[in-house]
């Protein structure tokens, strides 16, 4: 019996060793944001096909986890839906003696979704209406702030049930970042972050939790990622952008928002593109970033990762639309290619 077990163990070890050898010499580990995970796994898979000797492993543990792990040095790169703040950058700098760089990869958007019995029309939302609803000040669907831009739609006098994400998420970061920009009251009372202190509402877990609650609750409104809404055929409303146009979220609208801010893009790419200028820009859009150390101790890993990023900026962008992600504008790609030289 014992011999059998030992034999089995030996075989298992051999098999494991074989697997490691087959995976090739170099393996790079990353962790972070869940929102771009389908895109990243597609990219890493495609890139591995081109470069069989390199495999990139990615754990989608959340943006917060990604920032924590890259700061701890337990992964080779991180990923986040919100840029690292100054304090986090300082912590990294103190710990590693070098900087961490942000590289935008794709774009996403967040859309308001609602369930009002008897209303099939696509509603128009002004920033004031959205902020008012989520602050708990606009409480009825027939409030003038909502009916104003929706002439011809008969909205009921029912109480609005607000639904938000309960789990910390980049989606909430984007949504609260937008509300902070369009409403001073939101900015001072609530602020922006992956989890915030919600003035009103029910918390749903994940995009599916918010969607489920909105679907189940008459007269409710929530927010979900554009990709999620598209994939699950969830109706969503138009939002008025800074140029005064009501825009329905689309991949082109998101890329337009990014292009609108490209001129003033800071060198570290840590920029919010919510409420971006431009007639076509969808205002609740965001970049998602790779977090890459400026200094690598392992040259092979550095070169491999640089190789991947430059492939991602060229050929990789062609995979985005099939997965409903918005591609980066040309201006941003050009700027990122230059920034790649900063990785040493």
């Amino acid at each position: 019996m014992r011999r059998v077990i030992l034999g089995g163990l030996g075989l298992g070890l051999l098999a494991a060793a074989g697997l490691v050898a087959a995976q090739g010499a170099l393996s790079i580990n990353g962790a972070g944001a869940t929102f771009p995970y389908p895109m990243y796994s597609k990219w890493f898979d495609e890139y591995h096909k081109k470069n069989p000797s390199l495999s990139i492993n990615y754990q989608s543990i959340g943006s917060g986890g990604g920032i924590r792990q890259i700061t701890e040095g337990t992964v080779d790169f991180g990923a986040s839906d919100g840029p690292m703040n100054d304090e986090q950058l300082k912590t990294y700098q103190e710990k590693h003696g070098s900087a961490i760089l942000h590289f935008p990869t794709v774009l996403g958007a967040v859309v308001p979704t609602y369930n009002i019995p008897g209303v099939d029309a696509t509603l128009n939302f002004t920033p004031e209406a959205l902020a008012g609803i989520f602050l708990g000040k606009v409480t009825k669907w027939n409030d003038p702030l909502i009916t104003g831009p929706n002439q011809g739609v008969s909205l009921p006098a029912s109480d609005i049930v607000v639904v938000h994400r309960a789990d910390g998420s980049g989606t909430t970061y984007c949504w609260s970042d937008y509300l902070s920009k369009v409403s001073d009251e939101w900015k001072t009372k609530v602020g922006k972050g992956t989890s915030v202190n919600w003035p009103v509402g029910l918390g749903g877990k994940g995009n599916e939790g918010v969607t489920g609650t909105v679907k189940n609750t008459p007269n409710s409104i929530g927010y979900v990622e554009l990709i999620y809404a598209e994939a699950n055929k969830i109706p969503y409303g138009n939002v008025k952008n800074s140029a005064g146009v009501f825009v329905k979220a689309s991949l082109a609208g998101v890329t337009a928002a990014a292009a609108g801010t490209a001129k003033d893009m800071p060198d570290d790419f840590r920029v919010s593109i919510t409420d971006a200028p431009g007639k076509a820009a969808y205002p609740i859009s965001t970049f998602t970033w790779l977090l890459i150390p400026a200094k690598f101790s392992d040259n092979a890993k550095r070169d491999a990762l640089k190789g991947f990023v430059s492939w991602m900026l060229n050929d990789g962008q062609n995979f985005t639309e099939a997965l409903s992600y918005a591609r980066l504008p040309k201006e941003v790609i050009a700027k990122e290619k230059k920034a790649l030289a900063n990785i040493q």
Binding site: G65, I67, A166, G191, N197, G203, T213, N216, T217
Partner: protein, 325 residues
């Protein structure tokens, strides 16, 4: 094994090596180590939680337990709404699950034919093995709509004068979380209580019957009190499960850190907020406050378990049976 234990009486006089060769000492050492691990893990857990929550413990002190604001952006963290939600949902769950569970166990152990009892036991064990996320999904898709459309309006129109059953019916909230928890813990109560009831010695029943008791009297007056300790054990198991349940609760409680008298209102539990926010907690204070919540949950379970033990001691002193089944 049996042969070695029969040669034990002279153990003290025999050499250590001899005993070692017979395996007794080795077995003793190993089993002791295994038992010690349990204690060690608990201690390490508390230490780790204690060290991991330095920032909020220093910043908020005891105010952490009394304040109600949970604002990750302003860095204000208070645990009270989460403690409240955890206790209320567990209380609702036990209020529903204990009578149902024990009633079912009595039927299965005492009244049902053995074949029916064993078949049902199979299904009960199956229920106990269902992952909690499944209960959460059932909760979201079945319990929540039922609550919103039928149960909560019905409760409101009949018992609406009580503050417990007032306010808008969202479907999610303390009551729904309690009901889903009850569904989850009933199998534990039934399964353990049934085993305990079945292990009550036959002569206890026979004695009661021979004294002229009816079958129900013998069950209710003799068998159930005899098995009391074990039944309490099943309830504590259910309580522990209710306090710590994460996924199913997070899906139906509404995730809103507020304290409301109404059971219809959305709330939050400790386990749910940890699961929801830990992965994306970006500031150190936020992460550590969540870890301190973990410590609070540990203490809560510890205190409630302690109270439970005292309850057992007190009740078994004045009862007839002290069966430690």
């Amino acid at each position: 094994m049996a042969t070695t234990s029969t040669s034990l009486p002279g153990a003290g006089s025999r050499s250590f090596l001899l005993r070692l060769r017979e395996g007794d000492e080795i077995a003793r050492l190993f089993t002791f180590l295994f038992a010690a691990t349990v204690v060690l893990i608990s201690i390490l857990l508390v230490l780790e939680l204690w060290h991991g929550s330095i920032l909020p413990r220093h910043k908020f002190g005891l105010a952490f337990f009394r304040t109600t604001t949970w604002d990750p952006i302003e860095g204000q963290f208070g645990a009270l709404p989460f403690i409240y939600g955890t206790l209320i949902t567990a209380a609702v769950a036990l209020l529903i699950a204990v009578p149902l569970g024990i009633g079912a166990a009595i039927f299965l152990a005492e009244l049902a034919p053995a074949r029916v009892s064993d078949t049902l036991e199979f299904f009960i064990d199956l229920l106990a093995a269902v992952p909690s996320v499944i209960y959460g999904i059932l909760g979201v898709f079945i319990v929540v709509p039922l609550m919103r459309q039928f149960i909560e309006p019905a409760l409101k129109s009949t018992l609406g004068f009580l503050p417990l059953f007032q306010g808008p019916a969202y479907g999610v909230g303390f009551l729904t979380a309690g009901i889903v928890l009850a569904i989850m813990v009933i199998p534990y109560i039934i399964s353990v209580s049934r085993e305990v009831l079945l292990s009550v010695p036959r002569d206890q029943r026979e004695a009661a019957l021979s004294l002229g008791a009816t079958r129900w009297e013998s069950t209710w007056r003799v068998v159930v009190p005899f098995a009391r300790t074990g039944i309490f054990g099943s309830i504590f198991l259910a309580l522990a499960r209710s306090l710590g349940e994460t996924m199913a609760v997070a899906m139906v409680i509404g995730n809103d850190p507020k304290i409301s008298a109404s059971l219809f209102a959305p709330g939050y539990s400790i386990a749910a907020v940890i699961a929801n926010e830990l992965a994306e907690a970006t500031s150190e204070l936020h992460t550590q406050s969540l870890i301190e919540l973990g410590l609070v949950l540990f203490l809560l379970t510890f205190i409630l378990n302690g109270l439970a033990r005292i309850l057992i001691v007190v009740t078994s002193q004045r009862g007839a049976g002290t069966a430690r089944a």
